[in-house]
Symmetry: D2
Subunit: 339 residues, 4 copies
């Protein structure tokens, strides 16, 4: 920790600060600069108590306290220099092959799901997405088919061989969801629901962790740390747009997370352009950008008839548009050195 | 819903749009304006499917779709014109008397809690806050004393007569927390964890719902709707700062929520200046502002020794500062017409 | 500056970093910590070149660089421990007496301005606001009456004795505006138009500097530094709301700026609740909060007939509402120890 | 405009609203819906006064007013369905050929500029960037070489044949800048400095308009409208990152602006990844994304020795890295169907 003292503090105040730093287990190291004195407090910041509250107790003596260690460990590139990969029914996410996960926002009916599953498989997707339990802003909106939806996803898996990804909303559903899915999705609204993260991790299934609407990258990595530190190495990060002042799009898709997650962590990074833009007409361009920037996979909402979708129709692409998208992505996948 | 058509669309496209609007259960009403044609789609927006996905299916014909009904019902001022009040061990929140909830961020020890409880009671608080289960950004940070913390809160209640407020983190803890607390707090990170909101509502205990870090006011009111629609009328909203670009403060306390919640809803509004500022030195000024603007109560973090607090020491005020704060608030409480 | 090195860097890399630090004029001071080595680079950060680009040249050796000095000088409380005051025709802003500046968003006509001027004076305002040159988002919107508007403001001043505040939009208008006004307002969109700040400062007139829509507090203080360092001591800061994700209000009025500006600077702080809320129905509550939190003055938009205002009618209060507001503010002004 | 009335308002209130709508020049059209009555106010929204202030005058009768027309005209795709192109010394921006503008943040010396100019030309850039007048957050930072910098840019142009882009900071410099540059850059801090936009437009030189730090897309397009409506058709938009809560990057580069500007406008869109990321190590990935998503050009900061740059060294790439970047972009430019 770096403790910056105020200019012209008394020797007595300085001594009191030094005493408190030692009491909290750090070894102080004094540097007298031109304008002010700085104390380096030497000690492991992850195991010692933080000094960040010191200015509160010494308001006249301390100007600021800054940590210098990174707070994430297992998730960091330092801990695991090579890329890690997640194996989903034989498809590696994070490897040489680019993966596409696609399907409806919500599972609505057998016909809707099967039509979509066959179409996205034909177009090249390897994993089928579909919500059985839906987190909805209003209690009066469609909340998902629940167990019936999970069974339909299972049926689609058996018919098509596609892997399945679906969202977990409740700790109490963790075992049930794990029985039916290949990847557990943690949604943006639950990205710092740590009990849910622990419950998901403990199922042993791969976990795809969406970034919260206003989650800083460090917080996102630390949420991932909850998965890895609960003995589940199969973690993927998924950027789906952050909340900003802009209202043209529903969210602002932050594609810079691709090189940043690759730099800071070994875990794969997946991009969800459907939530990110909240508008089907922008999805193709965003997918191209994500591929070019080095994403490992895409998560795309596809619906046979978006206008009549029971949730988020505005951001779902039609089967035809999805096929076109997959075709147009090919040269960018090649340019990115992927298959 | 208001459906705005693009300029110069064909009669055929317009007919197709009208057909789809009728199919989804609305009665279309056409208005031909100067620059474009607008269709009013008449029907109950809360029970019918939204038309907001229409532009996705008719990209060449439709420019935009705007809902006109408010999405919240039970929580709205229209549904319940008078202020509602929440009774906590005889203290009414939302009534004439201004209430103060105070106590440590986390329950750390019997001594810490009892010292604080007696001090805040003496200074005029009526409700004791204290976290037993703590949501922490990193898995390596102090996670709370758990059940032991709840028992200490119970002991403090018996000794001082103060009501208790503590946070619920897991659906599985709802019954246990309800046994020990007078108010269940839903934290900012769980403000759209709808399963948790339902579990909290079903205990029958009063629920204090913090605003999420990037929650729009409409979304916050709708999250409150999850409580009321699960047969629990004892709802309070609590503003605790939103996430913005500013880094001087930890969050930006949005005091405009006080008149807005009062205008849109009947539920009490509580202000948490500790989380809001994230800095003890700003807490007094923010409390004064909250009182003047018409808040019903304050939720303040107080610790006997902030520099050595196990969590968020930087934003907790000392016992002395809290007593000073309570004293300085008095003329503002009077000016606001409160007791 | 604090230079944090990466773990396990070579002696050679460390030596190269030290050499560069010395070359840029700083004296390096090494601290070897538990997890990494930190270099304190001792030297005046305001006169030396910043080291913040070092990680760019030493990407494998340096993790981060953090400045420790505050970047603002003349505007800081350290430079001038007492509050400074601005004298506007005998009314002190920043002193014991609370001041109110009020008037229409735009000067529209003699009748509109005179009616408003007499009404706000009667209600207790001491300064008249009114835009003669208006910055408008669209080139097709009303751009202000220009010189004719300035002359009307001058006439209102002569008739009522109120001081005048009006906005400066162009360097080329600085002398003309200074001839007619008592305070030059720099609007939010021009808050980092440094040429305009310098031109305003050089007129010698008091300058009211609004906070930019997404301006951090440090940047705002530094923009104020442009005024003070151009030999104009009569600076006031004005918070008028920042841009956030919230759409219920036009902006989010950040009242925490009151205690923060008071802490960091000696200059008066003025609150503009009209722009801040963008809704007349929230203005009264916000004014009360601003007074209670220690603001020195308010800047309020008032119009005889808001529905027919030529700009921003939605946020202007009527003459009746303004009189009510002034009446209701009295007990809060007293509670805040002001007159 | 769509005027939504409150439920259960009296006939008298409704009549008063209708009368005011007519008085302001619109023809009202009433639609009685299930929950509330909606009035379509028919009339040209760009030439009539806005009705958005009506709720202020009729607070008990009107719930909301929503405009339906787009506010921008000349800049819109509707006004000019084909892409427009800007010709800079024979290089078309917005055409088939992808263009790269590169050079130092600030012009510092003849040696620095010439070295960079020759290197970026060799690597494939066609336009040289370099700041002669610099907008700096603090008055104590390097403010640019001024006229001397412009002359160096001119010399570099003569030596290399590269076009020149440099920033305009002051209306008073418009003629001087226009004499030396091929493109006038309007920086993010001046993006709503309308007087500067008009001055730039009137020089007749192509104008590159950066997006303001917190500018909504509609506001940006309207700022562009100031250029086109002042008889200068040579407008380019440049996305350079917006201000969000994230602190890992200096700004959040919003690449979704590429498909959005292409959809709404005919003007070329340029991406500035240097400002956008504020970190040289992220620039390559962002350039690839921008190319893939359909940008027309890139604006990249390049410096022979970033660690010793006089401004923004942290985001400038070295000559070597720039050459590598240009090489790696090639397959993406081809995949995007550009040359």
């Amino acid at each position: 920790m770096i403790v910056v003292l105020k200019p012209n503090i008394s020797k007595k105040d300085e001594a009191a600060v030094l005493k408190e730093i030692k009491k909290l287990g750090y070894k102080p190291h004094i540097m007298r600069g031109v304008a002010r004195t700085v104390i380096g407090a030497i000690g492991d910041e992850l195991t010692h108590q933080s000094l960040e509250s010191l200015p509160n107790s010494f308001p006249k003596a301390i100007e600021s306290v800054t940590p210098i260690q990174k707070r994430f460990k297992l998730v960091s590139r330092e801990a695991h220099p090579a890329n890690s990969t997640v194996n989903v029914r034989g498809n590696l996410i994070g490897g040489k092959k680019f993966q596409v996960m696609a399907g409806p926002c919500s599972v609505e009916s057998e016909k809707q799901l099967m039509t979509t599953a066959h179409a996205v498989k034909k177009a090249g997707a390897t994993i089928l997405r579909g919500g059985a339990f839906k987190p909805r802003t209003s209690p009066y909106e469609f909340q998902g088919l629940g167990l019936k939806g999970l069974k339909l996803l299972d049926k689609a898996r058996r018919e098509t061989g596609l892997g399945i990804i679906t969202e977990l909303l409740s700790e109490n559903h963790a075992d049930m969801i794990a029985e039916f899915t290949d990847i557990i999705q943690i949604g943006a609204r639950n990205a710092q629901n740590f009990q849910l993260l622990i419950a998901a991790a403990k199922t042993g299934k791969p976990v795809l962790l969406k970034r919260g609407l206003s989650m800083k990258i460090e917080e996102w990595l630390l949420a991932g740390e909850y998965v890895l530190s609960n003995d589940n190495p199969n973690l993927m990060f998924c950027e789906r747009g952050i909340r900003t002042f802009e209202t043209y799009t529903r969210n602002t898709l932050d594609l810079s997370t691709i090189p940043i997650v690759k730099k800071e962590s070994h875990a794969p990074i997946v991009i969800d352009p459907s939530q990110g833009a909240g508008r089907a007409d922008l999805v193709i361009a965003m997918c191209k950008g994500a591929v070019a920037m080095g994403a490992d996979a895409l998560l795309i909402e596809v619906h046979p008839n978006p206008a009549e979708a029971w949730s988020d129709g505005v951001q779902q692409v039609s089967l035809e548009l999805f096929a076109k998208l997959m075709h147009e992505l090919k040269p960018f996948i090649a340019a990115a050195g992927r298959e």
